[in-house]
Structures are given as structure tokens and as C-alpha cells.
């Protein structure tokens, strides 16, 4: 190693040699160079002596403690303490008791986007109102028939009374009942003998039996007065007297509207609820 050619690589090696931090091969290289050149030997030796002088410097005693006070780092300290509190109060850090099925159900109902959930609830309430309105209309239409049923289950009465009641029912049930009453009269006119032979009491009894048979079809009592020979016309009368068919023509459009409203509201409840859950889930994500 020529002292004139001490480049940065050699500097590394000399420093490491002085510190005794070289491999056997590196040490041999440096010592060979020192043996070959007095200048290199002087360089290495004087550096080693310099290091000894530097290492002899006394350690410096501490003048005081450098422990920090709260005032010196007040802002950061408050931030970190606040952050630590938040982290402690995070749900993930707190062990919660397992929820009961009822609580899970309530959570499920309460979950989702609030606005959409409220819209779904409103649609559900409207749906209930539609059901109530439909029920009310059906009740008002079926009211007279229900009266007939009550009559049919009542004790046997004289035929004159039954006829009178049947007539009153026919009047209340509108045009179809009027036709029915007419057909009854026609049938009676066509079979005068048969009617004359019938015992009035038996006639009443047969009327009751016929009523019971036609209860499901919610027939008016007047149908019961029909003879067996007129069964075909009685059947057609039964078909005509189904609940929907007996609705007041003025109420028909209203019933249709309610039916559509019911379908729309059911769809609205389902769609709004699903949207509410979806939006809530996407927000959490």
C-alpha cells in the first residue's frame, strides 16, 4: 500500500484496522503495506495514538435531569391522552355481553338508513289503511246477506213473514235481487198446484234447508223459496250473488283503486326496506 495512493477504500481499511475491526486477510494487507512503507506505518501509528488521546477524554457529568414536564409537551400530551380515551371506548375494545334473540331482532328492525326506514314504515301504515278500507267496503256490501244468514238460522216462521222478509231483502240487494224476486214469482205462478199442495210449515222448513245449503254462496233467503225444478235458475242466481259481483257499481272503481294501491304499497314497503339496509351496509363499508 503506497501512502500516496491512500484512496477512500484504503481509508475505510485503515480506520477499521486502527479499531481492530478487520478480518485476518485485511489485517495482513495493512501490515504488509506498513512493512513496505515507512509513511504508511507512520500514518497508521499516529492515527492509533490520536484515537487513544480521544478515548482518554473524560466523560461529561450531567448538569441536571432532562426529564420533560407536562408544560413542555402539553399540546401533544393532551392529544395523546384524548386519543387513548377514544381508543378505549371504541366498541371493538369493549367486551359486550352476547345479545338475546329479541335484542338482535330489535337491532335488525332499527338498523338501516333512517329516512328510507321511515318511508317504509309510512308505506306499511298506508297499506294497513287500505286493508281497513277494503274490509269496510266488503262489510257494507255483505251486511244484508249477513242479515239473511241470521234469518236462516232463526226458528221457523210463518211463510207470510218469510216472504215479507225475503221481499225486503230483495229490495235492499238491488236489481239482481229484484230479478230474483221476479223469477220466484214466475216460478210460483208456473207451479200453482205444487205450491197449493205444500204445507206452509213444510214450505218454511224447506226454505231454511235451502238457506243453509246456500250459505257459502251468501244467497238471499228468496233463493230458498225456489222449487227444485228451478235449480238451474237458482244456480245462476248464486253465481250472480258472489260478494264482489254484488258490489255497488258506484263503489267498483274505488275497490279497484284500493286493490292496486295495496299491491303498490306492498312493493314499496319491501323495496324501501331493502334499500334502507343496503345503504346502511354500504355506509359501514
Amino acid at each position: 500500500m503506497d501512502p500516496q495512493s491512500l484512496n477512500s477504500v484504503d481509508e475505510d481499511l485503515v480506520a477499521a484496522y486502527v479499531d481492530g475491526d478487520v478480518s485476518t486477510e485485511e489485517r495482513q494487507r495493512v501490515e504488509a503495506a506498513m512493512a513496505a512503507s515507512e509513511q504508511v506505518a507512520w500514518e497508521v501509528n499516529t492515527l492509533r495514538q490520536t484515537v487513544e488521546l480521544l478515548q482518554d477524554l473524560p466523560s461529561v457529568p450531567l448538569p441536571r435531569s432532562f426529564a420533560l414536564t407536562e408544560d413542555q409537551v402539553a399540546d401533544v400530551l393532551q392529544e395523546r391522552r384524548a386519543l387513548a380515551k377514544v381508543n378505549v371506548s371504541l366498541p371493538g375494545n369493549v367486551e359486550t355481553a352476547p345479545e338475546s334473540p329479541w335484542q338482535r331482532f330489535l337491532n335488525f328492525l332499527n338498523g338501516g338508513d333512517l329516512a328510507l326506514r321511515n318511508a317504509a314504515a309510512l308505506a306499511a301504515v298506508l297499506l294497513l289503511l287500505v286493508f281497513a278500507a277494503e274490509f269496510q267496503i266488503q262489510q257494507s256490501q255483505l251486511g244484508p246477506a249477513a242479515g239473511g244468514e241470521q234469518l236462516s238460522s232463526a226458528p221457523a216462521e210463518p211463510q207470510s213473514q218469510v216472504t215479507a222478509i225475503g221481499g225486503s231483502v230483495a229490495e235492499q240487494t238491488g236489481s239482481s235481487s229484484d230479478e230474483q224476486g221476479t223469477s220466484e214469482q214466475v216460478a210460483a205462478a208456473e207451479n200453482p198446484q205444487e205450491n197449493a199442495d205444500d204445507d206452509p210449515v213444510i214450505g218454511v222448513m224447506s226454505t231454511s234447508e235451502e238457506d243453509q245449503q246456500t250459505t257459502d254462496a251468501e244467497q238471499a233467503p228468496a233463493v230458498a223459496a225456489l222449487p227444485e225444478t228451478g235449480s238451474a235458475s237458482a244456480d245462476s242466481s248464486q253465481q250472480q250473488l258472489s260478494p264482489t259481483e254484488t258490489a255497488d257499481p258506484a263503489a267498483q272503481p274505488f275497490v279497484s283503486i284500493l286493490r292496486y294501491a295495496r299491491i303498490l304499497l306492498v312493493l314499496a314497503v319491501i323495496v324501501l326496506w331493502l334499500l334502507s339496509r343496503t345503504r346502511s351496509r354500504s355506509r359501514r363499508a
Binding site: V18, L53, L54, V60, L68
Partner: protein
């Protein structure tokens, strides 16, 4: 307590935990700051600033050698103080280091006044030699030869390659030697002739 635990607690706002780290490293930090700045008051100020900076920057500590991370802050803070001092070259006599305190701390009562004076002159000469070095060389030689850090630690503290660190150390030693050889009469007789 485990150092990582102390750091974790410090991050949660436990100042006492951080002060345990301060107590552990304040001696090392003060030694480096004192040798780099060559002034006890400046060294104390720089070290105090360093610990405050370290506490504030603790979020940025990503594990590894905490001592090296902390000493890098100390070294950089000392650089800041050096530059600040250079700007204030108009220092008055009141700003000069109070040598009496230092002298009192380093007095060996068994030595004669003559020996004591010679030792003090030698220490001052070596300190002057270190102070005469550029910042990077000064840091390298102080960390290695005065404070005894490993090459790898110095590389980490100064953000330099190990080869660069060795090179800087060698150059710094050479300059200190040259500085001392110009004042060989102050050196112990063992070194007086060999360094010339």
C-alpha cells in the same frame, strides 16, 4: 420496564414512561451534545430540545434501534444550534463557557497543580481539534472515538453508508492528528515526538 412498552405507554400520553427513556439516554445524549457544541449550556439546551422533539415525533418511530433514532434527533438538533450560533457571531464575554464548573467536575485531587494544568490544556486542545472539524467529520469522530458507537449505529444516526462512515472517521482522525501535531509541546511526551 421493556423499552417497547415504555414507548407504547408514552404514545398513550404517559409522560412518566417517556421520562424513564429520557433518564436512560440523557447521559449518552449529553455527552454527544457537549462534544459537538463544546459548551455545557448549549449542550443542555440542545439536549432538552431533542427530548421534546423526540416526544413530539414519537408517532414517526417505526421500531428498530430506539437509541439510534433518538441520537439522530440529538445530532440534528446540535447542528441546528451550531448554525444558530454561527449566525450569532456577535457573542459577548458573558456568552463564553463558564470553565470553572467543568474544571471542578474534572479535577483529580491526587495530581499536582502542574499535572492538572497540563491535563486541562491537553483536553482543551483535543476539544479544539474536534471543534475545528466540519460537522459530519466531527459527528463521526465524536460518536466513534469519544462515545464508542459501532459503525452501524453511526451509519444509522447519520443516515450514511457504513463505508462512508469509516472513511469520515479516518479523515477526521487525520485532521485531529494534524491539529495536535501543530501544538505538540502540549502533548504528553509519549505522543510529542511520534505525532510530529
Amino acid at each position: 420496564m421493556d423499552q417497547d412498552k415504555l414507548i407504547e405507554r408514552s404514545l398513550q400520553g404517559d409522560l412518566e414512561a417517556f421520562n424513564q427513556l429520557v433518564i436512560e439516554y440523557q447521559g449518552l445524549g449529553y455527552g454527544v451534545a457537549y462534544r459537538l457544541l463544546d459548551d455545557p449550556d448549549s449542550a443542555a439546551d440542545a439536549l432538552q430540545d431533542s427530548f421534546i422533539k423526540a416526544y413530539r415525533a414519537l408517532d414517526n418511530y417505526r421500531g428498530g434501534n430506539f437509541k439510534s433514532w433518538l441520537m439522530r434527533i440529538v445530532v440534528n438538533t446540535c447542528y441546528d444550534h451550531l448554525r444558530s450560533r454561527q449566525r450569532k457571531r456577535t457573542e459577548s464575554l458573558d456568552d463564553l463557557p463558564v470553565e470553572e464548573e467543568y474544571v471542578a467536575q474534572l479535577t483529580d485531587r491526587s495530581e499536582s497543580p502542574h499535572e492538572y494544568a497540563e491535563r486541562r490544556e491537553l483536553q482543551e486542545l483535543i476539544a479544539s481539534a474536534i471543534t475545528s472539524l466540519p460537522e459530519v467529520l466531527r459527528t463521526a469522530i465524536v460518536l466513534r472515538d469519544v462515545e464508542g458507537y459501532a459503525y452501524e449505529e453511526i451509519a444509522e444516526i447519520t443516515s450514511a453508508a457504513v463505508g462512508t462512515v469509516k472513511s469520515r472517521i479516518n479523515r477526521a482522525r487525520g485532521r485531529v492528528r494534524d491539529y495536535l501535531s501543530k501544538n505538540a509541546e502540549l502533548l504528553p511526551s509519549v505522543y510529542r515526538h511520534s505525532l510530529k
